[in-house]
Symmetry: C3
Amino acid sequence: MAGSPSRAAGRRLQLPLLCLFLQGATAVLFAVFVRYNHKTDAALWHRSNHSNADNEFYFRYPSFQDVHAMVFVGFGFLMVFLQRYGFSSVGFTFLLAAFALQWSTLVQGFLHSFHGGHIHVGVERPQLEKSKHRQGSVYHSDLFAMIGTIFLWIFWPSFNAALTALGAGQHRTALNTYYSLAASTLGTFALSALVGEDGRLDMVHIQNAALAGGVVVGTSSEMMLTPFGALAAGFLAGTVSTLGYKFFTPILESKFKVQDTCGVHNLHGMPGVLGALLGVLVAGLATHEAYGDGLESVFPLIAEGQRSATSQAMHQLFGLFVTLMFASVGGGLGGLLLKLPFLDSPPDSQHYEDQVHWQVPGEHEDKAQRPLRVEEADTQA
Amino acid sequence: MAGSPSRAAGRRLQLPLLCLFLQGATAVLFAVFVRYNHKTDAALWHRSNHSNADNEFYFRYPSFQDVHAMVFVGFGFLMVFLQRYGFSSVGFTFLLAAFALQWSTLVQGFLHSFHGGHIHVGVERPQLEKSKHRQGSVYHSDLFAMIGTIFLWIFWPSFNAALTALGAGQHRTALNTYYSLAASTLGTFALSALVGEDGRLDMVHIQNAALAGGVVVGTSSEMMLTPFGALAAGFLAGTVSTLGYKFFTPILESKFKVQDTCGVHNLHGMPGVLGALLGVLVAGLATHEAYGDGLESVFPLIAEGQRSATSQAMHQLFGLFVTLMFASVGGGLGGLLLKLPFLDSPPDSQHYEDQVHWQVPGEHEDKAQRPLRVEEADTQA
Amino acid sequence: MAGSPSRAAGRRLQLPLLCLFLQGATAVLFAVFVRYNHKTDAALWHRSNHSNADNEFYFRYPSFQDVHAMVFVGFGFLMVFLQRYGFSSVGFTFLLAAFALQWSTLVQGFLHSFHGGHIHVGVERPQLEKSKHRQGSVYHSDLFAMIGTIFLWIFWPSFNAALTALGAGQHRTALNTYYSLAASTLGTFALSALVGEDGRLDMVHIQNAALAGGVVVGTSSEMMLTPFGALAAGFLAGTVSTLGYKFFTPILESKFKVQDTCGVHNLHGMPGVLGALLGVLVAGLATHEAYGDGLESVFPLIAEGQRSATSQAMHQLFGLFVTLMFASVGGGLGGLLLKLPFLDSPPDSQHYEDQVHWQVPGEHEDKAQRPLRVEEADTQA
């Protein structure tokens, strides 16, 4: 499985060199650009002007921990359902998140934008072709994956609320997200049983589509969506996402040769597009009556009279197309890049296989499956 | 295992229809009754009157996440110890909690009462009769269940404190609950080893009775129980609960044909009754000296002179009997309801079996245990 | 396995008597010494002086839950990688933490020191000699251990920040710890792949050395370490710790007959000493210019002119030697104590074996693997 000696030697250096290069480059950029801010630097901070408004570090909702628990536990364990890819799922999410934590500081500093943007780094991107049999899950792996699902569910309201202004907007975002998640959970259970064999539930649907409610209100949860609107949107998203796992993913695999192991299309893709359209609709309905003084924090340009609600809606619709274009071109380039021969990506037969990257303990699933191979041998004999 | 075709067809529609009906009815009620409150509605919220007292959403102890982590992770994983019921345990707790989250909004609105009341919805009662062999646990399942136990332990102080007034009452509730939980943990380890074979600990005791300390101070943790009192109460509860699992549950099963899989009686029942009596005692001892100004928030009627401490204690004792009556009658009616033939509850042989409701992956425990059967066959041969 | 009957009888009483004695003694001390403080006692707390500064219980960063999640989940699950010691790892951490929670109240009261000091009680050291084969891990156990690692990673900044003064110092501590942890994670992945067979990662390195960044800034994270300094320190710690697991632990076992199952030396030992030296260096560089008004909260004696920065550095260096002496003498005495015959420690062959202390369910790993042997036997036959 290790390939030729020179290849193994090359692989031995690949990950270390990548880590060393990234960490080294980041450290240099930190040394040049990053300084403590006035709330963190001992010399710049004065007890006297430590007003209540400066306390947001300790008190802030969502806290650092909220977001980290979501990324590390949530996304890390969500993919553990893969039969022999548990180490890689948890381990590489861990590595990527640790790097992203540093990088986000730099990006944040350069863009003067909020730090939440890095969140999806750890999530996206096994897209492969064969070795499909290892996509199978095992009972306990599915339970681990439910740890991931539950942490994502619990902290998704924090995630959506992280970008909104303090006050009513943050209340509204968290509440709308909770309601939408709750409704998408019920929608997922309903649809999963409806389309399942003998009316049985599919764990993959529950693990993923139940979260579609968090995605679908990503744009509109800060708006005056109304609690009923959040329920309706969440239910629709849970339904669409479940149907995607059931009917669309198999077509994607058989016709387009695309393996969407984590159902990114069904959980993030379709509900994301739906959510953008929902945002267009709700933005188009925005009035001074419905938002009052709050209009300024949600739609500042409408509040200042520089834009009509319809124009805001059109801008958002245009944003959806820009996003889709970036995603298509970026994804295509990423795919081409990974096919470059010098990157030495593992052959298709080694996908979803921890042993490529990890020393796997002797009591690996492997042994539990030895009989299977024995049986295969029997059939061949 | 699927039963006759028409039954299977019936079952296929059962869960979807239930989910659709509940979600539909809830959505209609939301559309008619639920509105954002003044802290959440953009139009009603003004930055100018956004006083510090209004910040409780962000800063509040316990947070939304505290309670959700307790319900979803805690109760969801606590029952995973069941050998072939892990999907159902985590999955259906998830479903029920998602529904309860919405329903609690409605109940809260109608009763003008605190939102914590839904908490027990996801917990109580599988009560069955046969298929007892599947109650067995497996090593890793027990470790999963300990995730549940630990989350419940960590967040039980938040749970008890959620209903109390801000300030000293909330401090006291959290501290008393911590002390009681700590003592019940030591009591459980002591008693479990004492009554165990060869002095060995039983994982079921640790997973459950260690939490009895949280239950037993449910009523009195806001009162001036004293730290010593909290330790004593917790230790007693851990002891009683462990003895219940060891000696009472087997009698319940063999004599009364009641299967209390999760030990609801031992963890919530007996410690709950003990806790109510403890509350009666501590309420009866309440004086103006002991509580000072704080009497008003803990016992408002005593503080206003409308009730004596003894009378308060008698009211609470009466409350215990009312609760027990509701529990008995409600439980009895629930049991009768579930026996109605048209509800088509699965036959006894299919209890504690994920495959009734879930598509279970091929590498199920089932296969891991196939050898056992082989060996049994061998011995018979 | 149970030994002679009288020994079994002795063991049956050991743990219960220990628990009862400790809980009893603690309860007496609580009754004599522990009282609610003015923020918790109903009579001493007045709504009128419930100033904003008194709110720190609810709002405080880190919260009770942060530290408990770190100890119970983090340390409890970190050791679950041991093949047949999962119950003991989670269970006994739970027991010790529950006891430590009470004891810390007493110690805190007596020393007027912060309550965080108990934190390491649950962590340190199985140190044994044989039964080494049970140190093997299984695939799912390693995934459980990653739950522990991730919780420790997420909450280590809270842990370091718990002892610092509110304000800029706490900001700085949390940020430095995050950066150091992030860099040690990258360092660990780099080194683990570099020294691994075929360039493969070792799960033990990731589970442990990735946390070395939290240890190495334990002393200096409150100081003006600079973000770059935190990255450099963390990367160094991750590197050194990984090399320790790879090259030093085997020597420790083969030459010195010391089994450091959890790699305490590699995770806490070497990075701890490095961290103390780093603290000496950064303290020696402290100037009024770099710290401004903040000097008073980080180095009060320097701020008051009673000590020079160099003298502070020498004091800290001396502190390192005192700590090392205490650790050596204390560890030696502890080892001698455990060898006393009347303590009846289990024979070497029973180490890392849950069955000594726990009733282990029938479907133990053991049995799950029995079938393999049967089938292998078949193939041979």
